[in-house]
């Protein structure tokens, strides 16, 4: 079986190489049979990688400790779902998992486009198979997942306890789906450049793929934040750690791309910029992988023990050289056929939004790479901490929020001052009232006041958009409000689904503002029976409790939570002692309500006196992070799900155009 796994990777590697050659030859000579063979090759590569991944998964589930990887990342007492998650818990397995997702996507692309985009497909296949070939080479030559131990281990070393958390089962797959998903629009972009078919075909074809990848990248980032929040025990969820940044940067450029492609579709503008954005986004996914796997930058959650850095760097250089050369080659063909009608238009708002998003991405990149850059230039490794990132990105984030409000209100092409005044009046008033209310309510953190004002401003613009749309439909068709609303959304799911996504993002802004401006922190050392207060709660410490299982030993501090004299909850922050790697971890206890989270961490303790140190945090509005994610998901589904066609409403139909006396010459 193990041998078969190894051979499957070799076979996949050989066929991927064959597919690249045949696809390029087929594209060059226009031989349909060559391209068809290359496409079958892509399907075969997927099959072979699937076999390899299944064999490794089988070994993990059956706990075959003769395989080095299985012995290193699982144990006989590891629960089944973590044994499955161990597939992406270590370097080798995660690369195989990556290859599996990539080749699965490639197979879907091949099947989707059997009879479409025949000119693009040779280069799409060649690009996807080149990426696959890189990962397969790593899997075969550098980090083979099927290495066996000379003497089979009697017991595995277990999965890293920090990874033994339910987020482990969903965060990495989401992130990988997002990272790898970006390969598809990238491959189509390269194909468009290679063939010179530079109209919007590649964008329209990959729109769903881009959204799909963006959605999972969003979820991946969000899940990562929540995971850090629930596991790392410092009360926060985002610390600008290099690995967090690695996933955040492609999200930023991907978001910019999603917006700017609309301008190309509508106005035939920003063609070069869109190419640059997708190349940048894909490169950042590879760069992010390089960051987490090279050990160049130390981080709380990277695969440190690897020498993969140079390979990823080389691959990244190759990607950039090929993409930029193609881009330069086609530059004359990518000139815009239109220009900005007015600075007061949705196009220019999108352009600003793009600049801000890329600006944030650059700031994050700079901050992340600063230790490396400073070491290279001055010989001293200087790490910039969260204050740098917050200082730079907070104002940029607020500008972005503002633009999110302006974008939906302003019309494409041109908006007149009079109309701007009329449409902005209500949202601006709402924002100002919200700001004033914050001030009167006693908030003196001016960042928070600005942020809440903008949040209400954006929500008001979205509300106005829905309201006006519904009224327009009612006027046209005479439906009742609800029916008109449903019709409005279903007839333009891209626009209104997009607004729902915006609401989700605004909710995430609420959480960020609440937690960064109003967090309360307290550290207390308590004897049994002692009481302390935090943000309206009274907590009584009732001593330590112990529990023991085969896999883990637990030590919990019991705290009874009272609010206004009423008992509302019991919280048990714990220390865990994992038995296989003999490693302690801290498990937080959280009481979540709509308004805030009470977050407790068990610090040090004295086993004899039962005295314990508790770190308590009150995180206001953090629940909006979860709910924002849910709304974002809903919005993406509205946009992406192929439920019915977006048929144009009869009432919007333009009048037929008649060309009279047209003299058509056959020059």
């Amino acid at each position: 079986m193990i041998e078969l796994g190894r051979q499957a990777i070799l076979i996949a590697l050989l066929i991927a190489a064959y597919s690249i050659v045949m696809a390029l030859l087929g594209g060059w000579t226009r031989r349909r049979d060559f391209v068809a063979s290359a496409e079958n090759g892509a399907l075969a590569v997927w099959g072979a990688v699937l076999v390899a991944a299944t064999i490794l998964l089988h070994a993990l589930v059956t706990r075959d400790f003769s395989i080095e990887y299985v012995a290193a990342y699982s144990s006989s007492t590891l629960p089944l779902y973590y044994s499955i998650a161990a597939l992406w818990g270590g370097q080798k397995g995660s690369l195989l998992f990556w290859a599996l997702i990539l080749t699965s996507f490639s197979a879907v692309v091949v099947l989707q486009n059997r009879h479409r985009h025949r000119e693009l497909m040779p280069y799409v296949v060649a690009t996807l198979m080149s990426i696959a070939l890189f990962f397969l080479c790593l899997l075969f030559f550098i980090t083979p997942p099927f290495e066996t131990l000379a003497v089979p281990a009697r017991e595995g070393r277990d999965l890293n306890p920090l990874l033994q958390n339910y987020w482990m089962t969903i965060h990495p797959p989401s992130l990988y789906l997002g990272f790898v998903g970006m390969s598809v629009p990238f491959a189509f972009a390269i194909a468009a450049l290679a063939t010179g078919k530079l109209d919007t075909t590649w964008i329209r074809t990959t729109r769903r793929w881009t959204l799909f990848a963006w959605f999972f990248l969003s979820l991946g980032n969000l899940f990562g934040a929540l995971w850090a929040y629930e596991v790392l025990g410092w009360g926060g969820y985002w610390a600008w750690d290099p690995v967090e940044n690695a996933a955040f940067m492609p999200w930023l450029t991907g978001t910019a791309f999603l917006h700017s492609v609309m301008v190309q579709e509508k106005k035939n503008m920003l063609k070069v910029w869109n190419m640059v954005l997708i190349i940048m986004t894909f490169s950042l996914t590879i760069f992010g992988t390089f960051l987490t796997r090279s050990g160049v930058i130390s981080s709380v959650h990277s695969f440190t023990q690897s020498g993969l850095g140079p390979f990823f760097l080389g691959f990244l250089a190759l990607i950039l050289v090929v993409s930029i050369s193609l881009l330069l080659l086609r530059l004359p063909m990518l000139r815009s056929e239109a220009e900005l009608d007015s600075l007061l238009s949705r196009e220019s708002t999108f352009l600003f939004n793009n600049l801000i998003l890329v600006g944030i991405a650059f700031a994050v990149f700079w901050g992340t790479m600063f230790p490396v850059i400073s070491e290279a230039v001055r010989g001293v490794k200087i790490t910039v901490g969260p204050p740098f990132f917050n200082k730079v990105n907070a104002p940029l984030g607020l500008i972005l929020l503002f633009l999110m409000g302006v974008g939906p209100v302003i019309a494409w092409r041109r908006a007149s001052w009079a109309h701007l005044r009329r449409t902005f009046a209500a949202p601006v008033t709402t924002g100002l009232v919200a700001g004033a209310a914050c001030f009167i309510g006693g908030i003196r953190n001016y960042w928070a006041i600005v942020s809440f004002s903008l949040i209400f401003f954006v929500l008001a613009t979205i509300f106005v958009e829905f309201y006006r749309g519904v009224r327009a439909r009612q006027a046209m068709v005479g439906d009742n409000f609800l029916r008109a609303l449903v019709q409005l959304i279903s007839r333009n799911r891209r626009r209104y689904g997009g607004y729902i996504v915006h609401i989700g993002i605004v909710m995430i802004f609420v959480a960020i503002t609440g937690t960064s401006a109003f967090r309360i922190e307290k550290q207390v050392t308590l004897n049994v029976g002692e009481i302390f207060e935090i943000g309206g709660y009274e907590l009584r410490y009732d001593g330590l409790e112990e529990r023991d299982t085969l896999h883990i030993a637990y030590l919990m501090a019991r705290l009874e939570v009272y609010e206004n004299g009423n008992h509302v909850d019991t919280l048990l922050p714990e220390k865990r002692f994992y038995k296989k790697p003999e490693q302690p971890t801290t498990e937080v206890a959280i009481r979540s309500t709509l308004g805030s989270d009470l977050y407790l961490v068990l610090g040090s303790y004295d086993a004899e006196t039962r005295m314990a140190t508790i770190l308590a945090y009150l995180n206001p509005l953090i629940g909006f992070l979860y709910w924002g994610g849910a709304v974002l998901t809903l919005g993406t589904f509205v946009v992406i799900l192929p439920v019915g066609a977006t048929a144009p409403a009869a009432a919007y139909t333009a009048s037929p155009i008649e060309a009279t006396e047209t003299r058509v010459s056959s020059r």
């Binding site: 076979i11 063979s37 579709e265 333009a654 037929p656 155009i657 060309a659």
Partner: protein, 133 residues
């Protein structure tokens, strides 16, 4: 030993599957590509103009575009659509070697852009009712 047999059994059909198109050799040399998408690009331009008109109508109805702006924008996009339609027709005529449009009245459906006989209330392609502009 057994694993190499398994491997052989697995590899043969895979190789056959991958190489099959070469044996079948359907249309060894692909037909020369259709002219570099001039008609497709024109079609796209036409469709983009229609979409822009629809969007402008909706923007006007939702109060985001003044009547004056609306009129000038729609006039512009109708013009663009017309240009695309005329160019498309020229392309088709060139391709078929006929000059069917000389000196006659030609009408196009405003919904799908199909050239259609002047008579008839509905577009034969998409069924939209035709009114005189």
């Amino acid at each position: 030993m057994s694993s190499s047999i398994v491997l052989l059994i697995a590899v043969l059909p895979v190789a056959l599957f991958v190489l099959w198109p070469l044996f079948v050799g359907e249309g060894v040399a692909d037909a020369p590509s259709p002219p570099p998408d001039s008609t497709e690009a024109l079609e796209n331009r036409k469709r983009a103009a229609y979409a822009a008109i629809k969007e402008a109508e909706f923007d006007q109805r939702t109060g985001k575009l003044s009547d004056e702006d609306y009129d000038s924008l729609v006039a512009r996009y109708k013009n663009q659509a017309l240009e695309a339609i005329v160019a498309l027709q020229a392309a088709t005529t060139t391709a078929t070697g006929k000059d069917s449009g000389r000196g006659t009245k030609v009408s196009f459906c405003g919904e799908c852009g199909t050239k259609a006989p002047k008579h008839g209330k509905y577009c034969p392609t998409c069924g939209t009712q035709r009114t005189k502009a």
